[in-house]
């Protein structure tokens, strides 16, 4: 069992997400930085899909009541067991009574804690991921609090300390992240200049950045004037309601674009100017308020190639860690 001494900030149980319910308004939830989450599970010898903990900015302080194996991945943050710094991106044995704690974040935004066997919370619609907005999944549908006790799963495939991710595969978290953007859906609503301005601008992450989405500041965008169609309302930033892909970009009022993440609003009436390639959401998840982001346009073939490369690398890493 894990006893939560200090919850950190918005620490939640997450797995690969709750897929298949988007059409009824359920976003997938799940780990925002999918790479860090999957590598964490591989390091501790879990089957892919075991639930882990995701925190943001401030790591939690956790006491273990059993001997087990853990791995800290994701953000660049010092981690300690009983006050001794431990390596990250490496599996570490902890004893019953040991306490995991964190120092001040150096880069990135979200640390992950994987534990042998995974965090054992009830499956809700096929997933252990927490969706805090409506209070479902994870540990009682909410972020952790001091005093919470988390059960651990018993089905770790091969828990072992000392498994380490090759240094060349450890992601760096630059203060200006680059993410690939597939332009489309309603990009025709922006003037040509504005669409170019969107991809030329270094956007700054505002304090409004969470698991639902990230809001950015940096430029103003203009829409092509038109007579609005039925159902679209009078604001030129609006279209007739439609579904929003996870990773899609809306620009309410032409200022402060929003990129939707794993707890996305599933649909609405803002023009969608493009969608961030799924594997690049990992990079967005490791940016924080004040960091900058550039959106690099790709076509569909380019987007599929980015995804294929990144998932291929994850497969290679997984096989190397068995």
């Amino acid at each position: 069992m894990i006893r939560v001494q200090d919850p950190g900030l918005e620490t939640t149980v997450q797995d690969t997400g709750r897929l298949g319910y988007y059409s009824i308004g359920f976003p997938p939830s799940g780990a925002l930085d999918s790479f860090a989450y999957h590598v964490g599970n591989a390091l501790v010898g879990n089957e892919p899909g075991a639930a882990a903990l995701e925190a943001v900015y401030l790591g939690p302080t956790l006491e273990f009541t059993v001997d087990t194996v853990i791995a800290v991945t994701g953000a660049d943050i010092p981690a300690f067991v009983d006050g001794e710094e431990i390596p990250t991106w490496e599996s570490v044995a902890v004893s019953s009574g040991s306490v995991l704690s964190f120092g001040q974040l150096r880069a990135g935004a979200r640390p992950y804690v994987a534990v042998a066997g995974g965090i054992d919370v009830p499956l809700y619609y096929g997933s252990r991921s927490t969706y805090t907005l409506v209070g479902i999944g994870g540990f009682q549908g909410r972020a952790l609090r001091a005093g919470d006790e988390l059960a651990l799963g018993a089905d770790a495939r091969d828990p072992k300390a000392g498994r380490r991710l090759d240094g060349a595969d450890v992601p760096v978290h630059p203060s200006t992240a680059e993410v690939h953007l597939l332009v489309g859906l309603h990009s025709y609503r922006l003037t040509e200049d504005s669409l170019a301005r969107f991809t030329d601008t270094e956007w700054k992450v505002t304090p409004d950045a969470n698991r639902v989405g990230y809001r950015f500041r940096g430029a103003e965008l203009e829409f092509v004037p038109r007579e609005q169609p039925f159902g679209a309302g009078s604001d030129p930033a609006n279209v007739t309601d439609c579904g929003y892909p996870v990773g899609s970009v809306q620009v309410p009022g032409g200022v402060e674009p929003i990129v939707l993440l794993q707890d996305a609003v599933t649909g609405g009436g803002y023009a969608t100017l493009g969608t961030v390639v799924s594997v690049d959401r990992d990079r967005l998840a490791q940016t924080k308020t004040g960091d900058r982001t550039r959106f690099v346009p790709v076509d569909l073939d380019g987007a599929l190639e980015v995804r294929r490369d990144r998932l291929g690398a994850l497969d290679r890493i997984r096989s190397a860690l068995t």
Partner: protein, 80 residues
């Protein structure tokens, strides 16, 4: 006499007061003990108290009310 700087543990928006109508937690010249609250940082719609991690006298604020701050940013200078 030395000096000590209190830094932010999270990015967010800094506030001098617990609520818009309240008095500031501390003002320049005030003496604080370790653990006293000297401000708030709002992040992800939650408010985190900034605590003095040393005792001393507030010599100056290094950020304005409602400034956006980053992790490790210097917020308050103390004379210790």
């Amino acid at each position: 006499m030395g000096s000590h700087t209190i830094t932010s543990r999270t990015p967010g928006v800094f506030y001098h007061r617990p609520s818009p109508d309240a008095d500031p937690y501390v003002t320049e010249g005030a003496s604080v003990s370790e653990g006293d609250t000297v401000g708030l940082v709002e992040v992800m719609k939650t408010f985190h108290e900034v605590k003095a991690d040393a005792a001393g006298t507030v010599s100056r604020f290094l950020v304005e009310n409602e400034d956006e701050v980053t992790i490790g940013q210097e917020l308050v200078e103390l004379e210790t």
